[in-house]
Assembly symmetry: C2
Homo-oligomer: 113 residues x 2
């Protein structure tokens, strides 16, 4: 989706642009568990391609959500971690997650009223 701003110049739209990318929320979740290396992330996200993982990480880094740390050794060693900003975004997403569990994953009786 190219989620350019819709009608309202609201915070929700603005925030959603930062998680616009098929795997970004998953990456946020994966990193919320702690620092991870590229290969570890790839393994945590079955189905993602290296190209997409790399480009998503670059964008999230540019958006200040993720910090990338390179250790200059052989073989290469790179670590990814959430910034405070990324961590707080993940927390702001939690009510949505709760809603989804309750209203989508667990079928609730008032589903279609």
């Amino acid at each position: 989706m190219a989620r350019r701003p819709g009608a309202f110049e609201c915070g929700t739209e603005a925030a959603m642009e930062l998680i616009d990318g098929k795997w970004k929320v998953s990456i946020l979740w994966a990193l919320s568990e702690g620092v991870r290396r590229f290969g570890a992330l790839r393994r945590m996200l079955p189905g993602i391609t290296e190209k997409v993982l790399a480009s998503h990480l670059r964008e999230m880094e540019a958006d200040g959500l993720v910090r990338r740390e390179v250790f200059d050794v052989v073989p290469p060693h790179v670590e990814y971690a959430l910034t405070p900003r990324g961590l707080s975004l993940n927390e702001a997403l939690e009510p949505l997650g709760v809603w989804g569990e309750r209203h989508v994953l667990g079928q609730v009786e008032d589903a279609l009223r």
Copy 2:
């Protein structure tokens, strides 16, 4: 965006599928102010086309977020309103909106740390 489920079968991904569509959050907001007619929505969402508004509304209806009520008169009269489910989704989105206002719209000092 085709936001099919990512790595985690989590509520966040599930919820985000329901607001996957460029204008859906805006529609949610517009309807959170009260019942609206098709033409009124179109006017509240400058830039949206009739085709997209109609298809988004139908998807949201199928997802149980919106209720459509037809009055059989001439000229046609159709009203759209949020269901309890749509209303609660909108509420679950609020923390994200607050985060966006604080961390994106209003530039915050710890933006890139």
